[in-house]
Symmetry: C2
Subunit: 210 residues, 2 copies
Amino acid sequence: MTAEPPVPATSNTAGEPAQRRRRDAAETRQLLLDAARQRFARDGYAATTVRDIADDAGVNVALISRYFTSKEGLFEACLRAAGDELRRTTGQTPADRVPEAIARHIADLGAAGLSSQLSLLLRSSGDAGADEIRRGVLVRSSEQLAAARGWRPGEPGSEQLLLRAQMALAAGIGVAVLRSSIRLEPLSSATEQDLVGPLRDLVDALLPPR
Amino acid sequence: MTAEPPVPATSNTAGEPAQRRRRDAAETRQLLLDAARQRFARDGYAATTVRDIADDAGVNVALISRYFTSKEGLFEACLRAAGDELRRTTGQTPADRVPEAIARHIADLGAAGLSSQLSLLLRSSGDAGADEIRRGVLVRSSEQLAAARGWRPGEPGSEQLLLRAQMALAAGIGVAVLRSSIRLEPLSSATEQDLVGPLRDLVDALLPPR
DNA sequence: ACTAGATGTAAACGTTTGCTGACTTAGCCA
DNA sequence: TGGCTAAGTCAGCAAACGTTTACATCTAGT
């Protein structure tokens, strides 16, 4: 679980460390982020304890407070990371490739956990600050999604387009949760190839290509 | 666990009580169910305390243990109620009216809380029993949804249809949560009329009418 | 009217939670 | 090599949690 073989101190100047340094604040931070994202996405905020996260990361509990101030702070950091990831997808993807990109996100159940980053956006912490971050992430992503199909801010009559983009986003997130958290079969065992077809139909129906 | 809830023992012949009887086990049970459903759907299982629920219902905390054995038992009861409601929709609705039915569920943010019953299906309690109930509800509902478009159990090649039905269900639940729990605008303020069009496009794209 | 049992109340129990402060250890440079 | 600081450890606190226990009060049947 945790026992890492002792590693001699390396005077690594530039190269990425092949082995983990025994004390490395940046890496510890990242370990906590990864563990927290998975736990929060799968079990929700309130059901996850800081001791769970610390154990998963193989790190002492007190370091959560040190690096992220509080459990809330850790959650917000996870949310920001998921937001960056999602915005990268909805922003940098050509309009006709969006279904494939969403399918790739949803399908990735692995340790990288793109799917869990999606599920995270559905989890609430009860904290106003975190809720605002999540809402911002979702608004920006849906706006980027809508913009690819012709939506422009304030333009009359294009409000419908934003609404439809948010529904597409909701659909993607719903599928991700039912897959990775609820583990509904056969949805849970479906491969990326199984998902991309229906997702294309779904996205094209909600946001018709111009 | 053996404790069965005490029988209501109301000798009410026919007429519904115009005013609440000062002591009425059946009504107290229902008050707890309603309050719990809303709380669980909006805040999740772990974030909801039994004291919250009891206060919302205007009832003493200890009565949760009396009528539902435990917090878990109350959650399972909520899930069963939501399952009955959902099965009624997916089962009794003509195939071409499914989008309207889903839209009606999602749109209903009121006290009746059809929307919260949908959101509830996305919430996990961490308990194996509750998870099994929820999975059963979702499986049966998606099977009914798929059957309306030609799916038959075990029929080769129709597995795709079940997968698509589950994705449609996931989409509906995702929209419900983003609306009622996350309160994402403009999705949250959209009316039933705003929702039914996109939902029809979505359902028809995933499950083409035969 | 009386009583037994159903219904509701109040207070506390033991556990788990997030978080903190004092402490120890490792890494780095003079 | 010493020593200073960053990084990590440890034990424990106060609050909140679900649940239980002992008690009070209402209702229905006789």
